[in-house]
Each structure stands twice: as C-alpha cells, then as structure tokens.
C-alpha cells in the first residue's frame, strides 16, 4: 500500500464510530466474565472452553490444543502477526489431606511474584476444583484473634508450612467422598468489584485483561478487512516458564508477536498503555493517534531458542495497580485504548 493510501485508510479507521467499538460497560462485562473463572497454571481448561464457546457464538472457529491453548487464525498471506494473551493465574494444588480433613497445599511452580505474596492467601476463601469436576469452597485457616491476642507470639508472615484449608469436613474420609484428590487445583475465590471512574478490581485481572482485549477484537472486527494473517493466541502456563507462548510461536512461526502484558506502574506516567520502544517505527508512529498511550522502555520478552530467527516481539503493557494481589485495579479506559490500537494494527497490516 502506498504511504498516502495507508494514511487515508488509517485516518478513516480512526474516525469515531467507523471501527466497531465496545462501550466501557461491555468491556467490563467481558473482562468480568473471564475474571470470575479460576484458571491456575496447568488447569486452564474451564477458561479455555469458555473462551472457545464465546468465539464460536461469534461465528469463529477456535482451536484448543492439548495444553488448552486457544487459537483463532484469520486472513491470509503476509505479514503473519500473532497477538498473544496469557490465561493462567498463580495458584496451588492439593498436596495432602490430614486425618482431620484439612487440605495441605503446594505452589504450582517455584517463583512467587514477591516475597509477601502468600500472605494474601491467608484467611481467604479459596476454590478447589475436584477431580470429579465439582467446585468446593474452603478457607485458609488462621489463628483466632481472641486466642492469640497478648500471647506474645512473634508476628511472622504466612508460610505454606502453615497452610491448612478448611472445607467443612471432619475427616480424610469425608474429604475423599467429596472427590478431593492430590493435585486438585486451588485458586483464590474470584470476583470483580466495580469502583468509581471506570475502574474495576479483582484477583489477577492482569491474567485476564489480555484475553478480554483479544476477544473484543475478534468479536467486533470484520474478517474480510484483515490485512495479512493474524493469529489470536490465548496461551496457558505463562506462570510456569511461558510454556504456552513458546508452543504457539513454534507452531505458527509468526513474523511478529504482539504480547499483551500487565504493567506494574511505579510512577504516575506509567498509568497509560505503553508500547515498547523496540517496536517497529510504523507501529510506534501509530501511538500518536491514540489517547492514553505512550512509548516506553519495557522489559524485554526473552525469546525461546526454538523461535524462528528474526521473530519480532512487540510488548504492550496495560497498567494494573496493586499488581499480583487479590485487589488488582484496572482502568477500563486503558483496556478500550488497547482494543482500539490493536484492532487498527490488525486492520491496517502495519508491521
């Protein structure tokens, strides 16, 4: 496409009302739907199925692989761009059951987001998905206020050694009757709180916001207008070495990968959607057309040795306050900006 024609095309796309747009309420509903489904690393099946079902309702043909990665490929020819959003959240598995029926727990993976991370699970309602498909509620036991007050105990942060999940049963036998088994996934109870000024809060929104963006684009973009090939990839096992992303890039061999990630703001200027300075000049130039976006130096995404030589990675950071806590906060306007920006990328063929 000649520069003049491309500029005209982009200008038309950016006119209000021309590109299909979602209201903030629709964005919130979409994200809330995804955020309420537990999907700890390695146990993303329910969320993957939900996404695939929603996409099928929009006339799309999603594929789910054995790792529960979900993909939709649209268009044809070059360039082949892949838009990536991860699905999984940090969580635990049942590692044992005591004679009294309490569940013991073990982290999936070894790394914590930050040293104090586990403290935010203590004294919470948790959800256990049993091997027979049931969902059970439990609470992570704590010492009682009355029995420890003034007991001169040393205040120490929660450690998994003290992790006992109370699901209401009185014995190991009762827990087994409910179908609880070793390796059943444990997640924090999910829910979304609507705050003022288009903000929402909930546990691990950072692990759903990218998927919500991709779903919105897929549901509101006319397939016939897509330039080149675009693969939308909802990937699993992000919190276990980004295994899903590795598999997708090897499977599809894209020329360019757009990775949607959370940006943990450390300064007020970080509170806007950020595109990595490493992105191609044409991509960075498009930022000027969108309010609430900026160019920034983001942490490089390490590429797998199996990736095709020359695969270009563009990282988009969506600001999340209180990142990696049960009360992550997201400005829905950021999500809307990201949707508009990426939709334009998809439609324009910019690379």
């Amino acid at each position: 496409m000649k520069p003049f024609m491309r500029a005209t095309f982009l200008a038309i796309l950016l006119l209000p009302g021309v590109a299909a747009a979602q209201s903030l309420d629709e964005v919130r509903d979409h994200l809330s739907m995804l955020a309420k489904v537990p999907a700890v690393t390695g146990h993303e099946q329910s969320l993957s199925s939900l996404i695939a079902d929603q996409l099928k309702k929009s006339g799309l043909n999603p594929q789910i692989d054995f790792m529960s990665n979900v993909t939709v490929t649209l268009g044809s020819g070059t360039p082949h761009r892949m838009l990536v959003a991860s699905l999984d959240e940090p969580g635990f598995i049942v590692s044992g059951i005591t004679e009294e029926g309490y569940l013991r727990m073990q982290r999936i993976g070894t790394a914590k987001a930050f040293p104090y991370f586990d403290q935010y699970f203590e004294g919470r309602r948790l959800t256990i998905r049993t091997s027979n498909g049931k969902t059970l509620s439990g609470v992570l036991s704590i010492p009682s206020t009355h029995l420890t007050r003034g007991a001169n105990r040393v205040e120490k942060p929660f450690d998994l050694v003290d992790g006992y999940i109370d699901i209401g049963v009185k014995s190991l036998a009762e827990a087994s009757e409910l179908g609880v088994k070793i390796l059943d996934p444990i997640s924090i109870e999910k829910g979304v709180t609507t705050l003022a000024q288009d903000h929402i809060s909930g546990p691990f929104l950072s692990d759903r916001v990218g998927a919500a963006v991709l779903m919105s684009i897929l549901m509101t973009t006319a397939k016939s207008q897509i330039k080149g090939t675009v693969t939308f990839a909802f990937t699993t096992q992000e919190h276990f070495g980004r295994k899903g992303l590795d598999r997708m890039t090897v499977a599809f061999e894209p020329d360019q990968v757009y990775v949607l990630e959370a940006l943990n703001p450390s300064a007020p200027e970080d509170s806007v959607v950020s595109v990595d300075v490493q992105a191609a000049p044409a991509v960075r130039k498009m930022i000027e057309k969108f309010a609430g976006m900026r160019e920034a130096s983001l942490r490089a995404v390490p590429q797998s040795p199996q990736w095709k030589d020359g695969t270009e990675v563009v990282r988009l950071g969506i600001p999340i306050r209180f990142y990696a806590t049960p009360v992550e906060v997201l400005d829905l306007k950021s999500v809307q900006s990201t949707i508009r920006f990426l939709r334009t990328i998809v439609l324009s063929g910019v690379s």
């Binding site: 040293p115 609470v139 036991s141 206020t145 049963v169 009762e174 903000h199 009360v327």
Partner: protein, 363 residues
C-alpha cells in the same frame, strides 16, 4: 403386604423426622444468611436490628431503647431470666478523606488488620453503598514488606478516585461504616463460613427459640435483648444491666474455639459439631458450677448435645453481675474469630437455639 406395614410406618416416621430436621436447618440457614448479609458495624446496627425485628413472632411486643437495643419482655413470675445477644460486628469507620481520594479509618472492635489487607470493602453512605478496596501495604513488592507491622494507621481505602473532591462526590463522609462484602458461604456438610457469625448466630438462635416457643407455657419473667456496641465495650448491655433486675442472664455469643490446626489446644478446645457450649470461664467472668450443672441437666433431659469450656473474650452478660445477676454464657464453637472467614457448624446453632427454648420453660 401386611408384613410390609411396620417397615412402611418406620419409613414414613423417619421421613417425617428427616423432613422436620431439614426444615429446621432451612430456618437456621435462611435467617442466619439474611442477618449475615446485612451490615451492622458497632454504632451502625439499625439495618440488622430491623431485620431481627421483622422475624419476631407476632405475639411479641418489641421495644427499642434510646441506645438502640431491641428488647422483648414477656411472662411473669418471681424470677427474671434475661437472654442477650449482640447485633453489632467488628469493622471500620471512615475518619478522614485524604487529598489523594483515599480514606483513612479507625477500627471498631478488636481484630488483626492484616486479614483485611488487600480485600474489597463496602462503605455504607447515606446515599447507599459504595464499593472500594483496602489497598495492599505501601511498597508491598519490597522484600522487607513481609517483616513490616501492619496496623490500622496503615489501612487505606481506594475507591477509584484520585482526588478528595471526587471521593466526597460519592457521598462519603467521616463516620460512615465499612465492612468486607457480606456473604454467607456454605462449606461441606453442615458448616459455613462468613464474616460476623459473631454474633448474628446468637441473634439467630434467640430468634428461633422465640419462634418455636409457646408463650402460654412460660412461668417466669423473660427478656430477650439484642444489643448494640458489644464489640466496643459492651455499651448497649451496660445500659440494660442497670435497669434489668435480672436474676440470671444468659449471654448468647461465640465460644472462640481452638478446634483448628493452627491453634494451641491447651484451652478452648471445644470441637465443632459436638453441641452448644457453656462458656463457664472467660475473660469477663466465672459461672458457678451448680448453675452450669443445671443447664447440662436440662440439655441431657432433651438430648441436646452440650459441651463446657473456657475461652478468651468478654460478653454482654458480664455487665449484669455487678447488679447481682448470675451470668451463664451460652455459645456455639466458632473458628477464626473476628476474621472475614469465621466458620461454624449449623448443628451447634440448632442445639443452642433448643437449649434457649428449654431454659425459658424449665430453668
């Protein structure tokens, strides 16, 4: 066919008993859920009080005193038995709207703030509820954050606003009460978890006892009172105690149990599911042993499962003893006191409700 009749009879009888037991459990479940999901931080108990009042049987003549206590008195006789549970729950109150739009708070009642850190909350304004979150501690990503103390002075509530004026425009004022979102969540079997079983469970047990009581059979003066401000110094009960002239007071409140894996079982080890508890010794008083035995005798007469024990904490009944009344605290064993995840067994609550009804008639 004739041979089958006894079996059919047994089946029908057992089905009827099962249905009756189920109906009773449903009563407890539905009333407790309703009271749990109504906010009532100390000093802001009106919504809970009105819920309790709405459940009272038609024959009662409820009164509300100047402090906000709800009182039902009935029957006549030489002795006055006084049953008392509290309406209020622990929580926060807004003390300041900060320039950055966040709220500073003070605690109502005693609890560990760290179990409320990084949780959603609801601020109850005159204009209606406003959702917010208690933010994680400052710089929670730091390695040293885990070693920091976290106290009420560190608690900040974020509502989505970044300016004081925007927060004020939400209708928030100092003095507004704050709780975590109130939800009754069933666990396996007969157990459940929620914030404020202390003392909505006591309120429920007293209500059920009244609902199942035949007032025509009562031969004593009886008072049931649902009080305010127990968690901040037994304030509602203090006012009642002064005027009550009660002979016996039965404080209906939690027995904080050590029946969970992270507690020292040296004391307070009353297991869940084994019946109501006579809280014979706590931080606020001692119950004379002959009186404890009298309650046990009545419980056994009616096959009501009963436990005795000692735990920490005070109760409304202790304010009556200085006026000559004997305090007999009655409880259900509860885990994880004053936290957002308190746990109880509904069968213990059923036992508590039944002993209250029988004490009214037979003590």
């Amino acid at each position: 066919m004739k041979k089958l009749r006894p079996a059919v009879f047994v089946f029908l009888v057992s089905t009827l008993f099962a249905a009756a037991a189920w109906a009773q459990t449903r009563d407890i479940f539905s009333i407790l859920k309703d009271l749990i999901e109504t906010p009532g931080v100390s000093g802001s108990e009106e919504p809970v009080r009105e819920k309790v009042r709405a459940y009272l049987p038609a024959w009662t003549k409820p009164q509300v005193d100047n402090k906000g206590n709800l009182i039902v008195t009935f029957g006549a006789g030489p002795e006055h038995l006084f049953f008392i549970g509290h309406l209020d729950e622990v929580g926060y109150v807004v003390t300041r709207i900060n320039e950055d739009g966040t709220l500073s708070v003070e605690r109502k009642g005693g609890f560990y703030d760290k179990y409320y850190e990084a949780r959603p909350v609801i601020v109850y304004t005159q204009a209606g509820p406003v959702s917010g979150i208690i933010t994680p501690r400052i710089d929670y990503f730091r390695t040293a954050a885990a070693q920091d103390t976290y106290d009420v002075k560190d608690v900040r509530i974020y509502l989505g606003t970044d300016r004081k004026k925007d927060t004020e425009d939400l209708g928030i004022k100092t003095g507004d009460s704050i709780t975590v979102p109130k939800r009754f969540v069933p666990l396996a079997g007969d157990r459940a978890t929620a914030r404020s079983f202390d003392d909505r469970s006591g309120c429920t047990a007293m209500l059920l006892a009244l609902m199942r009581l035949d007032p025509g059979k009562v031969k004593k003066k009886i008072t049931f009172a649902w009080t305010v401000e127990e968690e901040v110094g037994l304030n509602g009960a203090r006012l009642l105690a002064e005027k009550s002239k009660a002979d016996y007071v039965f404080a209906v409140d939690t027995f904080v149990s050590a029946d969970s894996p992270r507690e020292d079982k040296r004391f307070a080890d009353a297991p869940l599911g084994k019946g109501f508890v006579i809280r014979a010794l706590d931080t606020s008083g001692i119950t004379p042993l002959p009186v404890v035995n009298r309650v046990i005798e009545i419980a056994r007469r009616h096959n009501i499962p009963v436990q005795t024990g000692t735990t920490n904490g005070g109760n409304d009944g202790s304010t009556f003893t200085r006026y000559g009344a004997i305090n007999i605290p009655l409880s259900w064993p509860g885990r994880y006191s004053h936290s957002p995840i308190e746990v109880l067994d509904l069968t213990d609550l059923e036992a508590l409700s039944e002993i209250i009804r029988h004490l009214v008639l037979e003590f």
